[in-house]
């Protein structure tokens, strides 16, 4: 899988946000704020193909956390990103 190359993180008033433009013809857009874990995964994994294990390794390298907890965080992150079309296979 990989992070969609169009995904762009912008800093707004101290938060790291992602804007997702709504469908053509509407003015709706979704805004998501990335927490520090989501931001780290984005920064380390953008621009390359990766597997779940690669993402888990990013968290294990950075944080004092055990493998099951890191895996759970990654699974949640991937699910959320896929739901928003930000991770593609």
């Amino acid at each position: 899988m990989k992070i969609h190359e169009k995904m762009k993180v912008r800093e707004v008033a101290g938060e790291n946000i992602v804007l997702m433009q709504g469908p053509r013809g509407t003015d709706m857009s979704r805004v998501v704020a990335l927490n520090s874990t989501a931001l780290l995964l984005y920064q380390r994994l953008l621009g390359r193909d990766f597997e779940m294990d690669d993402a888990v390794r990013v968290l294990l390298d950075e944080y004092e956390v055990d493998e099951p907890a890191a895996r759970k965080d990654v699974e949640n992150w991937v699910a959320e990103m896929k739901k928003n079309g930000l991770i593609i296979e």
Binding site: R10, E11, V12, A13, G14, E15, I17, L19, Q21, R24, G25, D27, S29, V31, V32, A33
Partner: protein, 284 residues
């Protein structure tokens, strides 16, 4: 070719042209914004330009002047922006010449009014001045900008302030200019005031932004960063969200605003209690 200098949103907007320039001053309220004293020109709007309308990649289209016309917005191969106002005219804006906006001849006054608004929006953005769809009330020398979709009751809410909150007055009822400038964040009256002619050249510091929704009871809450962003962004010129470079500048602008100005969301009835609640919360 003649030239006239307007002061809008604290920026000197120089209009030049022939017939279309004359028509611009037939628009109600436009003359109010003519510079009374020497003012530096910040950008130029060249009306009756001979510039052509090439093919361009469409990014967005919408109706304007109450659905009478359809406008197409997009970019050409070099990244130059175009607005095609149907048979009524077009606008060209090139970021390589950021202080110039070119406009074809425009005969219809309603169209011209909208075209000039668009020209201001394009050139003003990178100078930190953005027209915001809102109704603005001023009290104790501070402004509150009421945001919300058309028909939600922004004008009703500001009218209720004027009726029930002493010392209140209307600054603009449709599209004031919000500006992040050397003297902080201020909101200015503009020639674009919708159905309520309120042509005011004054400006005031912004006490708060208030996004309104119709609800069966009055309640108000302060918003965090993400919600504040989503409260303000839909009230900014829609084409700015459709193209990457414009969006980058717009997001930086919104970021500055919400860092310094509180943003609230309010569910409300069209009654005096709503005006008093928002006044007491925002102005105090």
């Amino acid at each position: 070719m003649t030239e006239r200098l307007l002061s809008i949103g604290g920026l000197g907007m120089a209009l030049s042209g022939g017939d279309t320039l004359r028509r611009a001053f037939m628009i109600e309220g436009m003359e109010v914004f003519l510079c009374q004293k020497p003012t530096p020109r910040d950008f130029e709007v060249r009306l009756d330009s001979a510039v052509g309308l090439p093919q361009f990649r469409q990014l967005y289209d919408f109706d304007f002047v109450d659905g009478l016309y359809r406008c197409r917005f997009g970019v050409d191969g070099e990244g130059v922006y175009y607005y095609d106002f149907g048979n009524a005219g077009w606008l060209r804006y090139d970021l390589r010449e950021p202080d110039v906006v070119e406009i074809s001849p425009v005969a219809d006054l309603s169209v011209l009014r909208f075209v000039l608004w668009t020209a201001y929006a394009m050139a003003g953005l990178r100078r930190g001045a953005v027209p915001i769809h809102s109704s603005v009330v001023v009290c104790d020398g501070r402004a509150v900008m009421c945001l919300g979709e058309s028909g939600t009751g922004k004008s009703t809410h500001t009218r209720l302030w004027c009726e029930h909150v002493e010392g209140s007055s209307l600054l603009n009822d449709d599209s004031p200019i919000l500006r992040f400038g050397e003297d902080g964040i201020r909101v200015y009256g503009s020639p674009w005031s919708g159905k309520t002619p309120c042509f005011c050249t004054e400006s005031y510091p912004v006490a708060g932004l208030l996004r309104l929704e119709q609800r069966p009871a009055n309640s108000i809450r302060r918003l965090g960063v993400v919600e504040a962003f989503t409260a303000l962004q839909p009230s900014c010129p829609p084409s700015m969200a459709r193209e990457e470079r414009l969006l980058d500048v717009l997001v930086a602008f919104i970021s500055k605003i919400i860092e310094h100005v509180p943003v609230y969301r309010m569910g409300c009835l069209p009654d005096a209690g709503a005006a008093r609640l928002s006044h007491d919360t925002i102005i105090g």
